[in-house]
């Protein structure tokens, strides 16, 4: 018996697997993939997670569907209780937030990320800004980074605009070390920094120095393809594997949570077409 799943569902599954049970986890706003991933984790391996919804700060909500914006009463329906903004960030500052999810238009090998502006000497593009990401990148115990645009738009190598860059034009959220080599330990931050980076091409972790390392491919990606689309050289884990595909019940949970397909807005057209065949918990590549 076979069934098929989408790339979005594979990525949600990979994000969900970075969550530990029994921890307080916050998903921020403007991130439907992460939002769904936390609900998947809560319904599977992490039933005791304290799920804090971005923008509404509702705790353990059961939204009837996902909306295209994050501060909507739809999204805190069924919440057991709610935090206010100072309480949420105080929990982070005092070291009691287990995990936060962050993204960036630029991400470097140390997990620094930029959502503030592009351009080195002068601003070329003003991005929306990081919300509370700057604070939580320092304070949350662990961080999962993600991006849906690791794959570059086609261009010759010298003009290619990388998402994974040698150096961020601006560091909005802090990773494992600054451009001048200061580490989290030097700065005395309470959080341990980025632990995972989940992209449209693969799953990375960070080695002991805090540097990106490729851990998992997808059934339809290769190391060469990832190298081609990354602005720096990265290490590859000895035990490189293929990211597991979601169980059928995870797939149906995702579809039930997001009947409007809001998470597809986060994916580029090419990635919306990627399909995988799930054969009774065993993955086989499709086109």
């Amino acid at each position: 018996m076979t069934a098929s799943c989408s790339f979005g569902e594979v990525m949600i599954n990979a994000l969900a697997r970075t969550v530990e049970d029994g921890t307080l986890v916050f998903h921020g706003y403007g991130s439907p993939l992460v939002q769904i991933a936390l609900h998947v984790a809560k319904r599977t391996h992490a039933p005791n997670m304290v799920l804090v919804a971005g923008a509404t700060y509702g705790i353990n909500p059961r939204p009837p569907f996902l909306t295209p914006t994050s501060n909507d009463w739809v999204l805190d329906r069924g919440a057991e209780c709610a935090l206010d903004i100072e309480e949420l960030f105080d929990l982070g500052a005092s070291g009691r937030m287990g995990r936060m999810f962050l993204s960036g238009l630029q991400i470097d090998r140390w997990g620094n990320a930029n959502v503030t502006m592009l351009g080195n000497r002068e601003m070329k593009l003003k991005l929306p800004g990081g919300g509370g990401g700057c604070n939580l990148s320092c304070d949350a115990q662990r961080v999962t980074l993600w991006t849906t645009a690791h794959r570059c738009e086609p261009a010759p190598r010298e003009r290619r605009r990388y998402r994974l860059v040698e150096r961020c034009d601006f560091v909005t959220s802090f990773g494992h070390r600054t451009a001048d080599g200061r580490t989290r330990a030097d700065l005395g931050h309470r959080g341990h920094g980025p632990q995972w980076l989940v992209t449209d091409l693969g799953v990375f972790d960070f080695n002991e120095e805090g540097c990106l390392r490729l851990r998992q491919l997808y059934p339809d990606t290769t190391i060469e393809e990832i190298s081609e689309n990354t602005g720096f050289e990265f290490a590859v884990a000895d035990d490189l594997s293929t990211a597991p595909l979601p169980d059928p019940d995870v797939v149906s949970t995702i579809r039930g949570l997001d009947p409007l397909g809001i998470h597809l807005k986060e994916l580029r057209p090419h990635d919306r077409e990627r399909r995988f065949t799930v054969r009774q918990h065993e993955a086989v590549e499709a086109s």
Binding site: Y29, Y57, T69, D76, I85, F89, K126, G131, G188, I262
Partner: protein, 317 residues
């Protein structure tokens, strides 16, 4: 904080919308309440633009159409928001981006906890509060008024962020009374801190009720003496949501976004003129957006999940 004129003790603080925004002056530091697509005081924002206010410094956390509209109308000189955008719904904020990139709006991006600590410093009568985070990021580069200090107790290095007392906060609450007590339902975002920290608090409310009725509804969460003036404006948060009265108007926001994205001239013609400057007041705006029919559509969320979902289903791609 000696120049605060709080407490505001008048028994009857009711004014009309123009009277409310008459309290906003050129060059003010302005905190806009609500957040993203919910409970943003949009009627007051449009009235501020009609008043022709210039040179505002906007401060706060997660914002979208409000700050973008103020930028598009030329009212903003500096932004210390932590986020200005339309999330995955429409993406980047076109007027805000253009104004920042052209240098018309000085970029002083903040981050949420930093804003919280700055407001709490003002509320506590302190000159600053420390945060451990930020160091390692470039946010301080945009905020030269942050300082570093070595903690005299532990020897740790900390960032000090200065007290922030906005000149004016504009808030939209579901309910209020004529004395100025406000009842905000659902996520308060930063509104309660804005109310306590700002020199003046200008409120629009969806429904003005008696103090007794307000208590029956569950009571105020902004005490009257912080509030300078109050105006009743139905659908005063449109096109953002003000539950339980109405949901987010995604169709109107799409119209806004397309006009803004098409450039400054298109934005003036297709949005600023018809929806802001050619409307003498909020009643004319409500007629312009479609009046009672729009209100009926947006309040249909209450009929059940299917009806609620339909409000978002159109045009999602």
């Amino acid at each position: 904080m000696n120049d605060m004129s709080m407490p505001f003790t008048a028994n009857d603080k009711r004014v009309d919308l123009d009277g409310l925004v008459a309290h906003v002056s050129d060059g003010d530091c302005l905190a806009v309440g609500g957040g993203l697509s919910s409970r943003v005081p949009m009627a007051a924002v449009r009235a501020i633009l009609r008043r022709g206010v210039r040179g505002l410094k906007v401060v706060g956390s997660a914002h979208g159409i409000d700050i973008d509209l103020l930028c598009g109308g030329g009212a903003v000189a500096a932004s210390a928001e932590s986020y200005v955008g339309f999330e995955q719904d429409f993406g980047m904020a076109p007027n805000y981006r253009r104004a920042c990139e052209a240098g018309e709006v000085k970029v002083e991006d903040s981050c949420c906890y930093t804003v919280v600590q700055q407001l709490r410093a003002a509320i506590s009568g302190l000159p600053f509060l420390p945060v451990r985070s930020i160091r390692g990021s470039d946010i301080a580069r945009l905020n030269p008024d942050y300082k570093l200090m070595t903690c005299p107790f532990t020897g740790e290095e900390l960032t000090l962020v200065p007290a922030l007392a906005p000149d004016v906060a504009i808030l939209h609450a579901q309910y209020g009374d004529m004395h100025g007590n406000l009842r905000i339902e659902g996520p308060p975002v930063v509104d309660l801190l804005f109310a306590r920290a700002s020199r003046k608090v200008l409120a629009t409310v969806e429904k003005l009720v008696s103090t007794e009725r307000l208590k029956e509804l569950g009571g105020a969460n902004v005490p009257y003496f912080y509030v300078t003036a109050v105006t009743e404006e139905e659908m005063g948060a449109h096109p953002t949501a003000c539950y339980p009265f109405y949901a987010y108007d995604r169709a109107h926001t799409a119209l806004y976004y397309q006009a803004a994205k098409a450039g400054p001239e298109a934005f003036r013609e297709r949005y600023l003129a018809p929806f802001v400057f050619d409307c003498p007041g909020h009643a004319a705006y409500l007629d312009r957006i479609g009046g009672a029919a729009v209100r009926a559509r947006l309040s249909s969320w209450n009929e059940g999940t299917a009806a609620w979902q339909r409000l978002y289903a159109e045009g999602i791609s």
